[in-house]
Amino acid sequence: MKTILIAVAAVTAGIATIPAQTEDFGAAYSFDERKPQTPVERVIAKVQPSLVKVHGASGIRGITSYATGIIVSKQGHILTLDQILIQQDRTRVVLYDGSVHRAKVLPEDPGLGVRLLKIDPTLVNGELQALWPPDEEGARYRTGQFVVSVGNCFRLAEFSEKLSATFGVVVGKADTALRYRLQDVKYDGELILTDACNNPGHYGGALFTLDGRWLGINARLLDSKETNTMLSAVIPVRDVLPYLEDHILGKRRVEEVVEKVPAWTGMVLFDKAGRRSPPAYVDRVVRGSPAEQLGLRPDDLVVRIDDYSIRSCKEYREVLEKYAAGDSVQLTWKRGTTIKNGELKLARDPKAEEAKK
């Protein structure tokens, strides 16, 4: 590169010699960033290399085809939410440096609604910066605590562009038992609720405390059509640990296999087939059954079992599946205009018992 300076007799200070037009000189416009200074800036800068963009097959019917993932092992394991259209052979992962990798799809955890992907670590430039769930103390969170949520909302970041970060507080926790629309949440435990914004694409991203502890994985928004409100929900990372240990460390947990005996109430509901499951009206009550002992009658409407609202026969069946024979539940039902409730002792279904024999 030719750059020729001309000499000027230096009279005093303040001389500037500007070289001729060349093609090799400083950047006119720089993407260089300053160093992070505040805790929020530091957390966001620190975790970026551990998060990835996940692209699934093309989205259909409002299911987004993109999400965020969290690198959880140097061997290339990536944790994401199992709510985008993930297909074997069609799932790609974009790392922090902009490189694109094909991902193998590992079995999901149906209870949590999360899934592991795996990329080939030998094709990665440098070493993967993996995160791992903190210990119980480190994963503790409190309502009002500041949090930062990082993810690829609306697929705003492409290739080496940085993921979006939002800031908020933990507004509380929710027991999914209290959820209103059962079908929306696969997860069956405690959820962290936050006002840090969460949007399509942000799902599968991570929630951090200001000192950089990994608290959870961004889940889909919980919404209520009745109140027109939406909540950002986050699955606590401690709950995902057994799944990670199982698939990454090969530490299969030995679970006590207890044979579960289906619960039986003795109520037969008026459940006609149709697109929408009808309200849980009692059609008849089996003689000698727990329901009869509690005093249920045909035309009673079951509205609640323990903390679960029952709005349809389908919800009644789904909730009952959570219990086994021998459990007791608080049953609330409506008769005419009065609300009644009492303790229902769940039993074994005598017909099923006979059939077994």
């Binding site: 500007i18 070289p19 037009q21 960033e33 929020v40 562009e161």
Partner: protein, 597 residues
């Protein structure tokens, strides 16, 4: 009182309260400059921010909207009685026809002074300031390409000033940094007190596609989680120091309709600065383009992996085609940055005004999956037609009135600080480096009012209004007409020859003509009165950046684009390679202007 008591006992609380006080003080100061912008005769509106005490307001183009087709410029008033009476005493025997001629001439000159040029005319807007008062806002420049517009508030009393906010450096923003948005969401505030919302920077340098014919592109925006809603459009985004780092213009929306979901986009202040000169001069700001589209590709596996930005489409007569780039070539470098993605390239290009000189690096495609060595070319960007304006793209198509441009020039200068104490002498040397034949090279020496120009063997001196001469071969002679004009134009336009004592005088009657962009440095172009099409270019903070004038000796229009690390010498629109410039601040020497050497 109670808080102070608690604070005394709890050092953490004291710190929180101190930070709260700082924040509320900044918000209070900023809020005074945030306004609501509304049309005169239709509902709806947006927000804006005053960025100059003379009442210049920045807002979104989509807030002022497209031009009002049914609007006509007001007729010129009748000449004031005093002027007419004075003229009558000077022309006692004037008949009715002569009076009519005088009246017409007076009206023409009034229109010349007060009418904007161009075909996109706007009715004045209503601008509500937080003092509760409504002002008339004259729409000056528009930038439909990236959604900006500048208005000027009409003072209710002569010399009125407004609270204003300075621009900050948007490139210094980092994800996680605290920012706050102000404006009038849903036009909630009927007394124009702005709403403040708080959040962090979620991402920087985001590229957001536009709509329609390349309109309303956000090439380099700041993503924020501070709630931004309809009505916030055009309002400012502030950093913690209370500087304007962006203009909030659009949001991503979720399933709940057109309301905030925590993803807002602000036009970065550093991009705005690149167009500020054009906007304040009332122009239709033009964006630059390379006349090509390039996409990111990531294909192949293993050793044959191709990752990069490749040229996909271009016109046969595209400026990049003239520079040697063809379809399939890989774009590797732009203006000093390595090109990593198509979005990044779009960002780098999108923030630049049309006709900016840029450097492009590319690797020519050589057959299947093979590329030659990187080549670098320098070219002047073309303009991107957004299809949003009826105004042509001529040099002076859309322009604010002369009075507005004079006012803009004075407002800009009023905020500059000039160092009057430093040495007053200036030298400026243009020299051919290597290849050039040196015929146009010269050295100029000035003390701000007098000028000596050394052109090869000739020395031309302008030592005062009536004192000028040429010295050639030991002989003193008087100046030829073109030599006199050359001295005059050089001194009038070249800000590198001005000093702190004379700059105010030099720019006193200047009109703002537009903006200029010299390799990453934005500036203003000032048109100077007199012949020779003289323009002085100064940076936004008043440092010399270059100049342009018609050289009567070389018989061409010369432009000096002077970046601290780079010099572009342009003659009649063509880049002249191989020239360099040296400038110096020195104690001036009386011998420069003496008849005897």
């Amino acid at each position: 009182m109670a808080a102070a008591l608690c604070a005394a006992q709890d050092p953490d609380l004291a710190a929180v309260l101190a930070s709260e006080r700082r924040r509320t003080a900044v918000i209070e100061r900023c809020a005074a400059a945030v306004c609501s912008v509304m049309a005169m005769d239709s509902p709806g509106g947006g927000s804006g921010v005053v960025f100059d005490p003379a009442g210049f307001v920045l807002t979104n183009f989509h807030v002022v909207g497209k031009a009002d087709d049914d609007y006509h410029l007001p007729d010129a008033p009748e000449p004031p009685a005093a002027d007419l009476a004075k003229w009558r005493t000077e022309h006692p025997d004037a008949d009715a026809a002569a009076v009519a001629e005088f009246t017409k001439a007076w009206k023409d000159s009034w229109c010349d002074e007060n009418w904007p040029s161009g075909t996109d005319l706007y009715k004045p807007k209503k601008v509500g300031m937080p003092d509760g008062k409504l002002y008339e806002g004259i729409v000056l420049g528009i930038d439909p390409g990236s959604d900006l517009a500048v208005l000027r508030l009409v003072p209710k009393a002569p010399g009125q000033t407004w609270p204003y906010c300075d621009f900050g450096d948007s490139d210094a923003l980092l994800a996680g940094e605290t920012v706050f948005a102000m404006g009038n969401p849903f036009l909630l505030a009927t007394d124009f007190t702005p709403t403040v919302t708080f959040g962090i920077v979620s991402g920087t340098h985001r590229y957001q596609e536009g709509s329609g014919q390349r309109m309303l592109v956000y090439p380099d925006c700041i993503q924020v989680d501070a709630p931004v809603n309809p009505g916030n459009s055009g309002g400012p985004l502030f950093n913690e120091a209370g500087q304007v780092v962006g203009i909030n213009g659009r949001i991503s929306i979720g399933d709940r309709g057109r309301v905030n979901v925590g993803v807002g986009f602000a036009i970065a202040s550093n991009q705005i600065k690149n167009f500020l000169g054009d906007l304040m001069a009332g122009r239709h700001a033009e964006h630059g383009t390379l006349d090509m589209s390039a996409w990111f590709m990531n294909s192949g596996t293993g050793d044959e992996r191709r990752r990069g930005v490749y040229v996909q489409q271009m016109f046969r007569d595209a400026i990049v085609a003239d520079a040697g780039v063809s379809i399939g070539d890989e774009i590797t470098w732009f203006n000093g940055s390595d090109v990593r993605s198509a979005n990044q390239l779009a960002t780098l290009i999108g923030v630049l005004p049309a006709f900016t000189w840029v450097s492009l690096g590319y690797r020519p495609a050589q057959g299947e999956n093979a590329f030659g060595d990187e080549r670098r070319v320098t070219l002047r960007m073309a303009y991107l037609d957004t299809g949003s304006s009826k105004d042509g793209h001529g040099a002076d198509a859309r322009m604010a009135s002369r009075s507005d441009r004079r006012l803009a020039a004075r407002a800009i200068m009023a905020r500059w600080q000039f160092g009057a104490d430093e040495p007053s002498g200036r030298t400026f040397t243009l020299a051919a480096a290597g290849g050039g034949d040196g015929s146009d090279g010269y050295t100029a020496r000035s003390d701000g009012t007098r000028l000596q120009l050394q052109l090869g063997e000739r020395t031309l001196v302008q030592a005062g209004a009536s004192e000028s001469f040429a010295r050639e071969g030991g002989q003193i002679r008087s100046l030829a007409v073109e030599e006199r004009a050359r001295l005059d134009r050089e001194l009038r336009s070249n800000p590198f020859l001005w000093n702190g004592r004379t700059i105010g005088e030099r720019l006193r009657d200047a009109l703002l003509r537009g903006g200029v962009h010299v390799h990453g440095i934005a500036g203003y172009r000032f048109a100077l009165p007199g012949d020779g099409d003289c323009e002085a270019w100064l940076t936004l903070d008043g440092r010399p950046l270059g100049c342009a004038f018609r050289d009567p000796i070389g018989r061409k229009r010369v432009e000096y684009h002077i970046h601290p690390a780079q010099f572009y010498f342009v003659a009649d629109g063509e880049l002249q390679p191989g020239w360099s410039v040296a400038t110096a601040t020195v104690e001036h020497d009386e011998s420069w202007f003496a008849r005897k050497p």
